[in-house]
């Protein structure tokens, strides 16, 4: 039986690595410190494995065959895949047995994820791990959700997948301590006329819903208003999954700022699971 030591939510954007100096140095330092604090917090829980809920940005997957959900079952993951990302190439350890367990149990539970035994992770996984200072030897299981190409799985389905993951992790005997990092969102537009116009009203309302603990209201708001907050905001499906895995634990934001010059509402939070 594994213990979930922490569930965290955090935005990601390649701009953090490619154009970090688009914002004042003091703000950049403040944001980077918030990511580092998140990393310190979840490493303090001494996890043996990390589930990374993230999304592929059309690098591993293309429109010839695009999975709604994909569970990584590799021994290791190279990253980044983007030739243009300002990040050092690195190898992140994978927990193949854990990924395989989650995959098989998901199918038993009537979810139908695809699986991958060879993925090169993109900035969506790498950026928060790098900024949080996570040890690359901490084995991960990537669980990727399609948030980048409609049609996409619903917010509720993503919540339910997270609920399944939380229970399956708790039932797993292969490791003792597991952390979850859900990464993406909040408001941002990628390559649209709204790019750089963060919808702070959406973000504040969304975070307030998360903090209220009202799951149905949060899912409803995410579903009904995501269209006002940018295509990048579709990544809050990972926050839905984290909320499902948290199984009612209280959520608190640890950082939020609308950063128009990074094109993103930068939000970080955690669920009080321990």
């Amino acid at each position: 039986m594994a213990e979930i030591t922490g569930i965290y939510t955090a935005s990601h954007t390649p701009v953090m690595l490619n154009f970090p100096d688009n914002i004042p140095a003091a703000l950049k330092d403040e944001i980077f410190a918030a990511y580092k604090a998140m990393g310190d917090d979840f490493m303090a829980g001494k996890p043996d494995a990390l589930i990374v809920l993230s999304n592929d940005h059309l690098h591993n997957f293309f429109l010839d065959n695009f999975p709604a959900y994909c569970i990584g079952c590799a021994e290791s993951y190279e990253s980044p895949i983007e030739h243009w990302l300002h990040a050092k190439r690195r190898t992140i350890a994978g927990d193949q047995a854990f990924g395989s367990y989650l995959l098989q149990n998901a199918l038993e539970a009537e979810f139908d994820p695809s699986f991958s035994m060879e993925m090169v992770l993109d900035h969506g996984s790498l950026t928060p791990l790098e900024l949080a200072g996570v040890d690359p030897d901490l084995p991960i299981v990537p669980v990727l959700i399609n948030c980048v190409q409609p049609p996409m799985p619903t917010m509720r389905r993503s919540y339910n997948l997270g609920k399944f993951l939380g229970q399956a992790i708790a039932d797993y005997d292969g490791v003792e301590r597991v952390a979850i990092l859900a990464t993406g969102g909040i408001s941002h537009d990628i390559a649209t006329p709204r790019m750089g116009m963060v919808n702070e009203v959406f973000d504040e309302t969304f975070l307030s819903h998360m903090e209220s603990g009202d799951v149905d209201a949060t899912i409803r708001y995410a579903t009904d208003f995501v269209h006002t907050a940018g295509n990048g905001c579709e990544e809050i499906r990972m926050w839905m999954a984290a909320m499902g895995a948290a199984n009612g634990a209280a959520f608190e934001r640890t950082y939020y700022k609308a950063v128009n010059d990074w094109y993103t509402g930068i939000g970080i939070g955690r669920f009080r699971v321990s």
């Binding site: 059309l58 429109l63 030739h83 190409q149 049609p151 990628i190 390559a191 709204r194 269209h227 295509n231």
Partner: protein, 102 residues
Amino acid sequence: MANWQEMMPSTRAYLMDKVLYELHHKPDHLEAYTTDADAYLARFGLPDDLATAIRSNDVAGMYLTGVNPYLLRAHCIGVKIPEAESLAALRRLLDHEDYNDG
């Protein structure tokens, strides 16, 4: 405005997606494109307006084809279109009456 131009990609958008995807993921494709853009684009049998939009770094024109915005974004960075130029081209398409702040 909505988050997406097409809730299911048209064939035109798919063709754009395919070029921008292969250009930045297949070995030697970026080099082939930068060496001879016309010859590279001819491989895909694109309609002329799509090929022209790509070859001329017409960010707004590419956007309006319905191309996946993540592929467009990666392409802009990957072929080094100046950031301010990309942003300005897209912003010129913004109809403020369409901007929905929730």
